[in-house]
Symmetry: D2
Subunit: 401 residues, 4 copies
Amino acid sequence: MNFGFDDTTAELRARLLTFMDECVIPAEHAYEEQAAVSGWSPPPLIEDLKAEARKRGLWNLFLPGAEGAGLTNLQYAPLAEIMGRSPSIAATATNCAAPDTGNMELLAQFGSEWQRKEYLEPLLNGEIRSAFAMTEPDVASSDATNISTSIVRDGDEYVVNGRKWFITGAMNPNCKILIVMGKTDPEAPSHRQQSMILVPRGTPGLTIKRGMKVFGYDDATHGGHAEVVFEDVRVPADHLIGEEGGGFAIAQARLGPGRIHHCMRLIGAAERAVELMCRRALSRTTFGKTIAQQGVVQDWIAESRVRIEQLRLLVLKTAWLMDTVGNRGAHTEIQAIKIATPAAVEWILDKAIQVHGAGGLSQDFPLAGAWAGVRSLRFADGPDEVHKRSLAYRELKKYMD
Amino acid sequence: MNFGFDDTTAELRARLLTFMDECVIPAEHAYEEQAAVSGWSPPPLIEDLKAEARKRGLWNLFLPGAEGAGLTNLQYAPLAEIMGRSPSIAATATNCAAPDTGNMELLAQFGSEWQRKEYLEPLLNGEIRSAFAMTEPDVASSDATNISTSIVRDGDEYVVNGRKWFITGAMNPNCKILIVMGKTDPEAPSHRQQSMILVPRGTPGLTIKRGMKVFGYDDATHGGHAEVVFEDVRVPADHLIGEEGGGFAIAQARLGPGRIHHCMRLIGAAERAVELMCRRALSRTTFGKTIAQQGVVQDWIAESRVRIEQLRLLVLKTAWLMDTVGNRGAHTEIQAIKIATPAAVEWILDKAIQVHGAGGLSQDFPLAGAWAGVRSLRFADGPDEVHKRSLAYRELKKYMD
Amino acid sequence: MNFGFDDTTAELRARLLTFMDECVIPAEHAYEEQAAVSGWSPPPLIEDLKAEARKRGLWNLFLPGAEGAGLTNLQYAPLAEIMGRSPSIAATATNCAAPDTGNMELLAQFGSEWQRKEYLEPLLNGEIRSAFAMTEPDVASSDATNISTSIVRDGDEYVVNGRKWFITGAMNPNCKILIVMGKTDPEAPSHRQQSMILVPRGTPGLTIKRGMKVFGYDDATHGGHAEVVFEDVRVPADHLIGEEGGGFAIAQARLGPGRIHHCMRLIGAAERAVELMCRRALSRTTFGKTIAQQGVVQDWIAESRVRIEQLRLLVLKTAWLMDTVGNRGAHTEIQAIKIATPAAVEWILDKAIQVHGAGGLSQDFPLAGAWAGVRSLRFADGPDEVHKRSLAYRELKKYMD
Amino acid sequence: MNFGFDDTTAELRARLLTFMDECVIPAEHAYEEQAAVSGWSPPPLIEDLKAEARKRGLWNLFLPGAEGAGLTNLQYAPLAEIMGRSPSIAATATNCAAPDTGNMELLAQFGSEWQRKEYLEPLLNGEIRSAFAMTEPDVASSDATNISTSIVRDGDEYVVNGRKWFITGAMNPNCKILIVMGKTDPEAPSHRQQSMILVPRGTPGLTIKRGMKVFGYDDATHGGHAEVVFEDVRVPADHLIGEEGGGFAIAQARLGPGRIHHCMRLIGAAERAVELMCRRALSRTTFGKTIAQQGVVQDWIAESRVRIEQLRLLVLKTAWLMDTVGNRGAHTEIQAIKIATPAAVEWILDKAIQVHGAGGLSQDFPLAGAWAGVRSLRFADGPDEVHKRSLAYRELKKYMD
């Protein structure tokens, strides 16, 4: 057992930290200003940062294998944490932003040669963006068997009908391709009914209807969270990813690394919140004491530190398990980090906000926005409660005869 | 001891419930549609509702004495709860919306004849709106001695300089008057330094700078939360409310009833959230069961009910104490409801959101917006932590020799 | 609505407080010393206190009607709170101790003339003690249909077989009678299977086997918590209470007032804990400050006060509902106080212990013992979780068509 | 970074698990029976187990260096967890029980040759037991400068006067030596006032006065928690450990490894609690479902697993830091595990108790006793609140100029 970073990770951490200090953090203010007028597109300065990151060898770090940076999950995880300190900018600048990351992994692993050339390549080059269309407004989508969008074979084409929402990134005009989950065979066994298919933006019948808000945020810099309607949308049969009935298995495979990324970025956000909380507490005085001298605030700071240290180790161990025994062997841990991380980071952000007074709620600090993002992750890939139930069942099974 | 409503309250509750059912709830959808295009002004339909409410004798219910409906705090409190089910519309329609309510109380109690005629009357008639400018961006405003806005006598005028923010309602063009807290004498004993003064919108040097957001919301239907700058703003000396040095005492007097109103409206919001949570839980199915059959969801519903019942009684008792022994005798309870209510209602709204899935975060349900409002109340009149410390000190004092 | 005490209550409160100050609190030390050598019997000094309480008109206060003090639930509740400050002594001294209270109510309401003469009279006179035998070690007894003790008619007798545990009071040699719940007809509809029967101590086949501990406490001053075995125990048929199949209904009727008593006593214990916490915090110094000056401790004190105030009101309203609309109309509230009170008081006691340092865990303060008692109430009449589920079901039912 | 066990650890874990299965768990029942009659001495069967453990090479595993098993903290930690499944027996049988462990480390590191020969040797051989006398009843002992016991040089002797309590192990007649913390120079700088001295049991003036209870438990199998009085207790000057004024530094050095041991044993206890909770939940049925099918119980099980996984990693990392950068470099983590572990394990044990119903509170299951032990650790080496404050201060210091 060894808790130190290996040389590759240490070197990349240093390089990424330098990039953050030199390029990302200094760009935050201008980014917000551009965002105020850039509509559903990302602020233009992001393109320069992408070029710079690529030049510095900080590109596609998330992607294992020859197509990416070739890092293990355990090596990438500490880098994702660093990006989490300024997640809107850093992840996009390094081409490590969701949902493209999961979509690139998926295409690298399951895409046909044609699909990889047409969509994976420009994604790897940061030329286009993509979306992943799973959640539906009309059913509890945490149960994949509820999914009602249909994908029906008709000659050389598939016809897609259905309604999806909270499709992150799809409001961005540069989002060129949607990966859509639907049912090809409602009569098959429950985990063989679903398939995934590529639907290019602009296909007739596809309507990007509106941006869903998360609390009051439209998250336009990430391309928002779209409601999308599919009305007799026809795509050639070669747009199906993998085989018919393979959708559920592909969705499962897509989950693991994404959880690591999300959780590590949240930990980075939590670290930044603790820093902001400390600085603010030291700088404000009430009733003759700095806020930092208030016992309750000290309690929050200590609790935050204690929780972050535990979370980070669990996420790193999960990454190590995925690298050494695979997603299946890391099943409990992958669920555990999904349960533990958003809840803890939400608590930390709440306390950081409280230390900032009313300003903490506003656009003048990154805390309320980060909070809304974390809160929404308590639903990502199904609400926490579904994951807890499944984890408990596995624990109980050890003692069933 | 008796936990039943008196006849006046019972009659008004019935009348108000009818108004909610017949006029308010049916208007919610159109209100949102108008809000999308009405900028910082309230949706126009509110004027019809105001006329209707007034016709039905549901007007200025919050205000004791001859100028208002003449109700006690204990009689008004259950009405505020009912308004809380649709707070944006119902409180405004009945001319019972903050911050006007506190401002009208203040003017009724401390205003000169001239001030009452000029500002209280149109407020009582619902013709204009008002704001209360206390919180400052540069200091921890929960400690009133920190306030740095200056109000300096210069001949027949006062000159106001300073910066305020989170001034609710001040973005609304119909907000005609601001009540501003500042220091007239920084050398006086700490609670005699502050005064309150009326500053009409449009006075030279007064800039309504921008709307502060709360978790992404601009709250434009309430007139937003403005940042306001005072640069050598001159008003005639008769605009001072009460006497020089009386600002702290007036602020204290203003607090009690407002807390009752806020807390009861939050309880109304919580009741609506429980209703939405139950209806949703009954209507969605995952893994072969309705969400209502999930034990964890049942636990949330039960906890919500248990917490609401306790909160309501504490707020009602506080109202009764204010009516019978006055604000000073109800000091502990007034702080207790401020500590307990937002925390509990925030928890209930969070669970209602969770039951709604991602939709609960969005503009399609009133839950996320209500949550942001409740969260911001953990800062109103000072953060919870300040109130807890003060309450604890009073408890400890019982045992000091 | 009115939150003041009526005259009867106010007078009895004053009288009882005097008794506490003059007789109960001063006896606590000697009580503990006698308890150390009195085995399963109560400390002898309790008999003098009983005589004194009776002389002062503080006797059977819990019992409505002519046989008792004739108080309503709402009138008795504040008296139970006062007793809760020193519950072992005060409740017994005034003949208001569980389980006798519930048993007396039960016999007053459902006992035959013979049963009342033989057992209710000496109980009312404080001459004997009694026990209530419901919980069984081998089944989840919160589901009454699980009860496996059998009561079988055989000619003029009933024959009882089964095993019970946590039968409070039964280790006390002066506990002369057990009220036993068992099944007379396992084939009847589920709520008509059970009956209750009187089993005198000393009946052949009845073995009082051992005292169950609660944490490390044997609770000998209350007569412990016995495991009791019934092996072909025969009692005359007239020992059945009410009718065959009436056991479940009698058990339900017994619940309401007992909940009020328990919860109010817990609130009294919580008030005493807050007092001890404050006094201790003021008297100890670490790192140059009293513990009372620590922000975290102030937070605990404030939270304790806020929770107590809410709980008390809910319990009092529940008592009022029982008096005005009966147990059935107060169903939600009766469950709510059972859910809320032990949880909150447990939290308060935990904090009071923490302020006392290691001593708080020990026999030198009443806190750890009180904590264990409260913790055990999270199981009384079924675990909290069962009550929450049932309460949630009632809430959901409002919205089912 | 690597989360696997090294070969030494893996081999010792296997060997210890075998010993647990073959010797410790099967002895639990007899151990409890002997404990009921063995007074303040440990149950006699422990001597056989000690011999067996020694034979199996499972002896003094906690002690680094040649005198012990030579393991690092990181290697020993997983073994302590295994012992924690049956802590009373396993730690004592392997001569790895507190407070001897800390005392042996202390003597190995700071003891003179004479002290090591006289006391360390028989301790290493498991022939005698020892105690560590720090906490005092009259002061808040978490602040070491409060300690009031005096150690005064008088010719060739030191004279000790003072009162200590919660001196674990000192009721055991086989506890032959006490290490006592007191002040040799109240005028010295605050961290140079204290010294440690050896006081043999039986020295005139030393009175082992009584056993303090912890939630009703006397913990007699560990030798209880004594109150000890020192009245002019004289010991030769060579009984001083290290130098005069070195007491604080020695106490600090003693802390680190002990924290690892305690925390890992608690994690072992938590694992056993989860196992018991699952088994019970699967075996009991209410209202037509097993308790394991209740959503709330599943939530507890999942939360328990999630918390345990995080805690364990943090404790292991702390051990690794102690091994690689020393106690000082691990300061934050050593405090973090002390804050996080007892709180989380207490929660888990509470839930396991709740699943067991009333039986969970009693002597029939190991849960309530374990709970009391964990609760008392929230005070060990100072209450959590002191550690949080100190940790927060270190965090804040990063941002102070």
